[in-house]
Protein backbone atom coordinates (compact mmCIF):
# COMPACT_ATOMS: atom_id res chain seq x y z
CA UNK A 1 0.00 0.00 0.00
CA UNK A 2 1.09 3.56 -0.64
CA UNK A 3 3.05 5.44 1.97
CA UNK A 4 3.13 9.21 2.22
CA UNK A 5 6.15 11.43 2.66
CA UNK A 6 6.30 15.05 3.78
CA UNK A 7 8.46 17.37 1.70
CA UNK A 8 8.98 21.08 2.21
CA UNK A 9 9.05 23.01 -1.05
CA UNK A 10 10.20 26.50 -1.95
CA UNK A 11 8.62 28.46 -4.76
CA UNK A 12 11.05 29.28 -7.58
CA UNK A 13 10.82 32.90 -8.66
CA UNK A 14 12.89 32.42 -11.80
CA UNK A 15 12.53 29.59 -14.28
CA UNK A 16 14.77 28.46 -17.12
CA UNK A 17 17.89 26.33 -17.40
CA UNK A 18 20.29 28.83 -15.79
CA UNK A 19 18.21 29.40 -12.68
CA UNK A 20 17.48 25.66 -12.48
CA UNK A 21 21.24 25.00 -12.52
CA UNK A 22 21.66 27.48 -9.65
CA UNK A 23 18.95 25.65 -7.69
CA UNK A 24 20.75 22.33 -8.23
CA UNK A 25 24.01 23.84 -6.96
CA UNK A 26 22.25 24.66 -3.69
CA UNK A 27 21.41 20.98 -3.18
CA UNK A 28 17.82 21.21 -4.33
CA UNK A 29 15.92 19.76 -7.28
CA UNK A 30 13.73 21.95 -9.50
CA UNK A 31 10.19 20.64 -9.82
CA UNK A 32 6.86 21.61 -11.32
CA UNK A 33 3.42 21.14 -9.80
CA UNK A 34 0.33 20.87 -11.97
CA UNK A 35 -3.14 19.34 -12.07
CA UNK A 36 -6.72 20.01 -10.92
CA UNK A 37 -7.03 22.75 -13.58
CA UNK A 38 -4.95 25.14 -11.50
CA UNK A 39 -1.96 27.18 -12.64
CA UNK A 40 1.33 25.24 -12.68
CA UNK A 41 3.77 26.28 -9.96
CA UNK A 42 7.55 26.03 -10.22
CA UNK A 43 9.05 24.79 -6.94
CA UNK A 44 12.25 23.27 -5.64
CA UNK A 45 12.68 20.28 -3.29
CA UNK A 46 15.50 19.05 -1.09
CA UNK A 47 17.55 16.41 -2.96
CA UNK A 48 18.23 14.12 0.00
CA UNK A 49 14.67 13.89 1.24
CA UNK A 50 13.25 13.33 -2.24
CA UNK A 51 15.78 10.71 -3.39
CA UNK A 52 15.53 8.84 -0.10
CA UNK A 53 11.74 8.86 -0.33
CA UNK A 54 11.75 7.60 -3.91
CA UNK A 55 14.16 4.78 -3.08
CA UNK A 56 11.82 3.71 -0.30
CA UNK A 57 9.02 3.41 -2.83
CA UNK A 58 7.06 6.58 -2.04
CA UNK A 59 4.94 7.79 -4.94
CA UNK A 60 2.42 9.81 -2.96
CA UNK A 61 3.82 12.85 -1.21
CA UNK A 62 2.61 15.60 1.08
CA UNK A 63 4.21 18.73 -0.28
CA UNK A 64 4.20 21.85 1.83
CA UNK A 65 4.31 25.02 -0.28
CA UNK A 66 4.36 28.00 2.06
CA UNK A 67 1.79 27.11 4.72
CA UNK A 68 -0.38 25.03 2.46
CA UNK A 69 -0.02 21.25 2.42
CA UNK A 70 -1.11 19.29 -0.65
CA UNK A 71 -1.12 15.65 -1.72
CA UNK A 72 0.83 15.01 -4.89
CA UNK A 73 2.09 12.05 -6.87
CA UNK A 74 5.36 11.83 -8.78
CA UNK A 75 4.34 11.87 -12.42
CA UNK A 76 7.77 12.01 -14.10
CA UNK A 77 11.47 12.12 -13.30
CA UNK A 78 14.25 13.50 -15.50
CA UNK A 79 17.80 12.22 -15.18
CA UNK A 80 21.21 13.55 -16.20
CA UNK A 81 23.03 12.12 -19.22
CA UNK A 82 24.50 9.24 -17.20
CA UNK A 83 21.15 8.36 -15.65
CA UNK A 84 22.67 8.84 -12.18
CA UNK A 85 21.12 11.99 -10.72
CA UNK A 86 17.58 13.28 -10.84
CA UNK A 87 17.53 16.74 -12.39
CA UNK A 88 13.81 17.54 -12.47
CA UNK A 89 10.56 16.21 -11.02
CA UNK A 90 6.98 16.50 -12.25
CA UNK A 91 4.40 16.44 -9.45
CA UNK A 92 0.65 16.19 -9.97
CA UNK A 93 -1.97 17.42 -7.50
CA UNK A 94 -4.32 14.64 -6.39
CA UNK A 95 -7.13 13.95 -3.95
CA UNK A 96 -7.01 10.92 -1.70
CA UNK A 97 -10.27 9.62 -3.14
CA UNK A 98 -9.21 10.18 -6.72
CA UNK A 99 -8.43 7.41 -9.23
CA UNK A 100 -5.22 7.96 -11.17
CA UNK A 101 -3.33 6.33 -14.01
CA UNK A 102 0.26 5.49 -13.09
CA UNK A 103 3.08 3.31 -14.35
CA UNK A 104 4.36 0.77 -11.85
CA UNK A 105 7.48 -1.38 -12.24
CA UNK A 106 7.09 -5.14 -12.41
CA UNK A 107 9.17 -7.49 -10.34
CA UNK A 108 9.91 -10.99 -11.61
CA UNK A 109 9.76 -13.70 -8.97
CA UNK A 110 10.99 -17.28 -9.12
CA UNK A 111 13.11 -19.30 -11.51
CA UNK A 112 11.43 -20.31 -14.74
CA UNK A 113 11.13 -24.01 -15.66
CA UNK A 114 12.53 -23.22 -19.08
CA UNK A 115 15.84 -21.97 -17.72
CA UNK A 116 16.75 -25.55 -16.77
CA UNK A 117 16.33 -26.51 -20.43
CA UNK A 118 18.68 -23.80 -21.63
CA UNK A 119 16.17 -21.01 -22.05
CA UNK A 120 16.58 -17.48 -20.74
CA UNK A 121 14.04 -15.04 -19.37
CA UNK A 122 13.90 -11.81 -21.35
CA UNK A 123 12.08 -8.84 -19.85
CA UNK A 124 10.60 -6.86 -22.74
CA UNK A 125 8.75 -4.28 -20.66
CA UNK A 126 9.63 -3.49 -17.07
CA UNK A 127 6.50 -1.55 -16.14
CA UNK A 128 2.73 -1.64 -16.59
CA UNK A 129 0.20 1.14 -16.71
CA UNK A 130 -2.49 0.77 -14.06
CA UNK A 131 -5.50 2.65 -12.79
CA UNK A 132 -6.21 2.73 -9.06
CA UNK A 133 -6.96 4.94 -6.07
CA UNK A 134 -4.15 7.24 -5.02
CA UNK A 135 -3.79 5.47 -1.69
CA UNK A 136 -3.67 2.01 -3.33
CA UNK A 137 -0.72 2.54 -5.67
CA UNK A 138 1.46 -0.58 -5.27
CA UNK A 139 5.24 -0.16 -5.05
CA UNK A 140 5.80 -2.99 -7.56
CA UNK A 141 3.69 -5.63 -9.23
CA UNK A 142 5.03 -9.09 -8.56
CA UNK A 143 4.95 -11.41 -11.55
CA UNK A 144 5.69 -15.09 -11.03
CA UNK A 145 7.68 -16.70 -13.84
CA UNK A 146 7.97 -20.09 -12.13
CA UNK A 147 5.67 -21.90 -14.58
CA UNK A 148 7.19 -20.45 -17.73
CA UNK A 149 8.55 -23.01 -20.17
CA UNK A 150 10.70 -22.47 -23.26
CA UNK A 151 8.62 -20.62 -25.85
CA UNK A 152 6.14 -19.19 -23.33
CA UNK A 153 5.24 -15.51 -23.26
CA UNK A 154 3.57 -13.43 -20.58
CA UNK A 155 1.39 -10.47 -21.56
CA UNK A 156 0.09 -7.57 -19.47
CA UNK A 157 -3.40 -9.09 -19.51
CA UNK A 158 -2.13 -12.35 -17.96
CA UNK A 159 -0.78 -10.92 -14.72
CA UNK A 160 -2.63 -10.93 -11.43
CA UNK A 161 -3.16 -7.43 -10.10
CA UNK A 162 -3.75 -6.52 -6.44
CA UNK A 163 -7.29 -5.73 -5.29
CA UNK A 164 -8.58 -2.34 -6.42
CA UNK A 165 -6.01 -2.09 -9.23
CA UNK A 166 -7.08 -2.16 -12.89
CA UNK A 167 -4.91 -2.46 -15.95
CA UNK A 168 -5.18 0.68 -18.08
CA UNK A 169 -2.60 -0.04 -20.77
CA UNK A 170 -3.13 -2.50 -23.64
CA UNK A 171 -3.47 -6.09 -22.31
CA UNK A 172 -1.50 -7.50 -25.25
CA UNK A 173 1.71 -5.71 -24.20
CA UNK A 174 4.49 -8.30 -24.10
CA UNK A 175 6.18 -8.41 -20.69
CA UNK A 176 8.32 -11.51 -20.39
CA UNK A 177 9.38 -14.33 -22.71
CA UNK A 178 11.33 -17.50 -22.14
CA UNK A 179 13.33 -18.51 -25.19
CA UNK A 180 16.37 -20.52 -26.17
CA UNK A 181 19.53 -18.58 -26.87
CA UNK A 182 20.93 -19.05 -30.34
CA UNK A 183 24.53 -20.20 -30.37
CA UNK A 184 26.81 -17.18 -30.44
CA UNK A 185 28.62 -16.66 -33.70
CA UNK A 186 32.36 -17.03 -33.70
CA UNK A 187 34.56 -14.24 -35.03
CA UNK A 188 35.30 -16.31 -38.17
CA UNK A 189 31.59 -16.81 -38.90
CA UNK A 190 30.89 -13.10 -38.52
CA UNK A 191 33.75 -12.29 -40.83
CA UNK A 192 32.55 -14.76 -43.46
CA UNK A 193 29.03 -13.29 -43.43
CA UNK A 194 30.15 -9.68 -43.69
CA UNK A 195 30.50 -8.28 -47.21
CA UNK A 196 33.85 -6.85 -48.25
CA UNK A 197 32.32 -3.46 -48.99
CA UNK A 198 28.77 -2.10 -48.64
CA UNK A 199 26.58 -1.39 -51.62
CA UNK A 200 26.31 2.32 -52.44
CA UNK A 201 22.70 3.49 -52.90
CA UNK A 202 22.13 5.12 -56.25
CA UNK A 203 25.48 4.13 -57.69
CA UNK A 204 25.07 2.49 -61.09
CA UNK A 205 27.28 -0.52 -61.55
CA UNK A 206 29.42 -0.30 -64.63
CA UNK A 207 28.40 -2.98 -67.17
CA UNK A 208 31.14 -5.27 -68.38
CA UNK A 209 32.68 -4.08 -71.59
CA UNK A 210 31.33 -5.85 -74.72
CA UNK A 211 31.96 -4.89 -78.30
CA UNK A 212 28.77 -3.14 -79.46
CA UNK A 213 27.05 -4.45 -82.55
CA UNK A 214 26.35 -0.99 -84.00
CA UNK A 215 30.03 -0.11 -84.13
CA UNK A 216 30.77 -3.30 -86.03
CA UNK A 217 28.01 -2.68 -88.64
CA UNK A 218 29.09 0.86 -89.39
CA UNK A 219 31.12 0.98 -92.49
CA UNK A 220 33.43 3.75 -93.68
CA UNK A 221 31.54 6.89 -94.57
CA UNK A 222 31.81 8.29 -98.07
Amino acid sequence: MEKSLLLKAEIREHTGSKSAAKVRKQGRIPAIVYGHKKEPVAISLDVRNLVEGLHHGHRLMDVQIGKKRQKMIVKDLQYDYLGKDIIHVDLMRVDVTETVKVTVPIELKGTAKGTQEGGIIAEHTDHVEIECKVTDIPETIVVSVKDMDVGDALHAGDIELPEGVKLSGPPETLLVTCSLVAAAKTAEEVEEEAPAAPEVIGEVKEPEEQPSEEEGKRGPVG
Binding site: Y81, L82, G83, A122, A184, A194, V200
Partner: protein, 139 residues
Protein backbone atom coordinates in the same frame (compact mmCIF):
# COMPACT_ATOMS: atom_id res chain seq x y z
CA UNK B 1 36.58 -6.21 -41.75
CA UNK B 2 33.98 -7.30 -39.21
CA UNK B 3 30.76 -5.28 -38.78
CA UNK B 4 29.70 -2.75 -41.40
CA UNK B 5 26.47 -1.51 -43.01
CA UNK B 6 25.00 -3.48 -45.92
CA UNK B 7 24.08 -0.39 -47.91
CA UNK B 8 25.33 3.18 -47.62
CA UNK B 9 24.41 6.45 -49.28
CA UNK B 10 28.01 7.65 -49.54
CA UNK B 11 31.15 5.52 -49.59
CA UNK B 12 33.31 8.01 -47.68
CA UNK B 13 32.48 10.46 -44.91
CA UNK B 14 34.04 13.52 -43.32
CA UNK B 15 35.44 13.17 -39.81
CA UNK B 16 32.84 15.34 -38.05
CA UNK B 17 32.71 16.43 -34.41
CA UNK B 18 31.18 14.76 -31.39
CA UNK B 19 30.02 17.46 -29.00
CA UNK B 20 28.13 17.00 -25.77
CA UNK B 21 26.70 13.92 -24.13
CA UNK B 22 24.43 11.11 -25.28
CA UNK B 23 20.80 12.16 -25.15
CA UNK B 24 19.49 8.84 -26.44
CA UNK B 25 20.46 5.22 -25.69
CA UNK B 26 21.69 6.36 -22.28
CA UNK B 27 19.82 3.80 -20.21
CA UNK B 28 19.59 0.01 -20.10
CA UNK B 29 16.67 -0.93 -22.34
CA UNK B 30 16.94 -4.63 -23.31
CA UNK B 31 18.93 -6.58 -20.74
CA UNK B 32 19.29 -6.12 -17.01
CA UNK B 33 22.86 -4.77 -16.88
CA UNK B 34 24.89 -2.62 -19.22
CA UNK B 35 28.23 -1.01 -19.99
CA UNK B 36 28.04 2.76 -20.29
CA UNK B 37 30.65 4.95 -22.01
CA UNK B 38 32.12 7.78 -19.94
CA UNK B 39 34.15 9.40 -22.71
CA UNK B 40 33.70 10.49 -26.30
CA UNK B 41 35.33 8.25 -28.85
CA UNK B 42 35.16 6.32 -32.07
CA UNK B 43 34.70 2.63 -31.29
CA UNK B 44 35.92 0.54 -34.20
CA UNK B 45 34.14 -2.55 -35.50
CA UNK B 46 37.12 -4.58 -34.23
CA UNK B 47 36.64 -3.17 -30.70
CA UNK B 48 32.95 -4.06 -30.77
CA UNK B 49 33.63 -7.56 -32.05
CA UNK B 50 36.35 -8.09 -29.44
CA UNK B 51 33.91 -7.02 -26.72
CA UNK B 52 31.18 -9.30 -28.03
CA UNK B 53 33.52 -12.30 -28.19
CA UNK B 54 34.86 -11.59 -24.68
CA UNK B 55 31.35 -11.44 -23.21
CA UNK B 56 29.91 -14.49 -25.01
CA UNK B 57 33.04 -16.53 -24.23
CA UNK B 58 32.78 -15.70 -20.53
CA UNK B 59 29.04 -16.41 -20.36
CA UNK B 60 29.35 -19.96 -21.80
CA UNK B 61 26.03 -19.72 -23.72
CA UNK B 62 24.26 -18.47 -20.60
CA UNK B 63 22.31 -15.22 -20.79
CA UNK B 64 22.09 -12.90 -23.77
CA UNK B 65 24.40 -10.16 -24.99
CA UNK B 66 22.92 -7.11 -26.69
CA UNK B 67 25.01 -4.72 -28.81
CA UNK B 68 23.66 -1.18 -28.60
CA UNK B 69 26.18 0.40 -30.99
CA UNK B 70 26.88 -0.21 -34.67
CA UNK B 71 29.78 1.03 -36.81
CA UNK B 72 27.97 3.25 -39.32
CA UNK B 73 30.84 5.61 -40.09
CA UNK B 74 33.57 4.75 -42.64
CA UNK B 75 37.11 5.97 -41.92
CA UNK B 76 39.42 6.31 -44.89
CA UNK B 77 43.21 6.16 -44.92
CA UNK B 78 45.97 6.64 -47.45
CA UNK B 79 48.30 3.74 -48.23
CA UNK B 80 51.83 3.80 -46.80
CA UNK B 81 54.59 5.65 -48.64
CA UNK B 82 52.13 7.57 -50.80
CA UNK B 83 52.65 11.21 -51.72
CA UNK B 84 50.02 13.63 -50.46
CA UNK B 85 47.21 14.67 -52.78
CA UNK B 86 45.52 12.58 -55.45
CA UNK B 87 42.24 12.63 -53.57
CA UNK B 88 40.81 11.07 -50.43
CA UNK B 89 42.00 7.60 -49.41
CA UNK B 90 39.92 4.44 -49.56
CA UNK B 91 37.66 3.36 -46.63
CA UNK B 92 39.89 1.41 -44.24
CA UNK B 93 37.64 0.58 -41.28
CA UNK B 94 34.27 1.35 -39.75
CA UNK B 95 33.51 3.06 -36.45
CA UNK B 96 30.60 3.80 -34.11
CA UNK B 97 30.43 7.31 -32.67
CA UNK B 98 30.07 7.12 -28.92
CA UNK B 99 29.42 9.99 -26.53
CA UNK B 100 29.43 9.94 -22.71
CA UNK B 101 26.33 8.20 -21.40
CA UNK B 102 25.85 5.81 -24.33
CA UNK B 103 25.08 2.25 -23.26
CA UNK B 104 27.26 0.13 -25.55
CA UNK B 105 26.65 -3.44 -24.37
CA UNK B 106 23.85 -5.06 -22.39
CA UNK B 107 23.50 -8.45 -20.75
CA UNK B 108 20.31 -10.19 -19.63
CA UNK B 109 19.39 -13.54 -18.12
CA UNK B 110 22.32 -13.82 -15.69
CA UNK B 111 23.00 -12.74 -12.11
CA UNK B 112 24.50 -9.35 -11.34
CA UNK B 113 27.80 -10.86 -10.29
CA UNK B 114 28.22 -12.80 -13.54
CA UNK B 115 27.14 -9.80 -15.63
CA UNK B 116 29.66 -7.59 -13.84
CA UNK B 117 32.50 -10.02 -14.50
CA UNK B 118 31.55 -10.32 -18.17
CA UNK B 119 31.24 -6.56 -18.66
CA UNK B 120 34.59 -5.90 -16.96
CA UNK B 121 36.13 -8.11 -19.64
CA UNK B 122 34.31 -6.13 -22.33
CA UNK B 123 35.43 -2.83 -20.75
CA UNK B 124 39.06 -3.92 -21.09
CA UNK B 125 38.58 -4.22 -24.86
CA UNK B 126 37.20 -0.67 -25.13
CA UNK B 127 39.47 2.31 -25.82
CA UNK B 128 37.56 4.46 -23.29
CA UNK B 129 36.57 4.53 -19.62
CA UNK B 130 33.27 2.76 -19.00
CA UNK B 131 31.01 2.02 -16.05
CA UNK B 132 28.70 -0.83 -15.11
CA UNK B 133 25.02 0.15 -14.99
CA UNK B 134 21.80 -1.58 -13.96
CA UNK B 135 18.34 -1.23 -15.43
CA UNK B 136 16.45 1.61 -13.77
CA UNK B 137 13.08 0.48 -12.44
CA UNK B 138 12.24 3.81 -10.81
CA UNK B 139 9.78 5.57 -13.15
Amino acid sequence: MVMMPKRVKHRKSQRGKMKGNASRSNFVAFGEYGLQALETSWITARNIEAGRVAATHFLHREGKVYLRIFPHKPVSAKPLETRMGKGKGEPEFWVARVRPGQVMFEIGGVTEDVAKQALVRVAHKMPIRCRFVKRRHLL
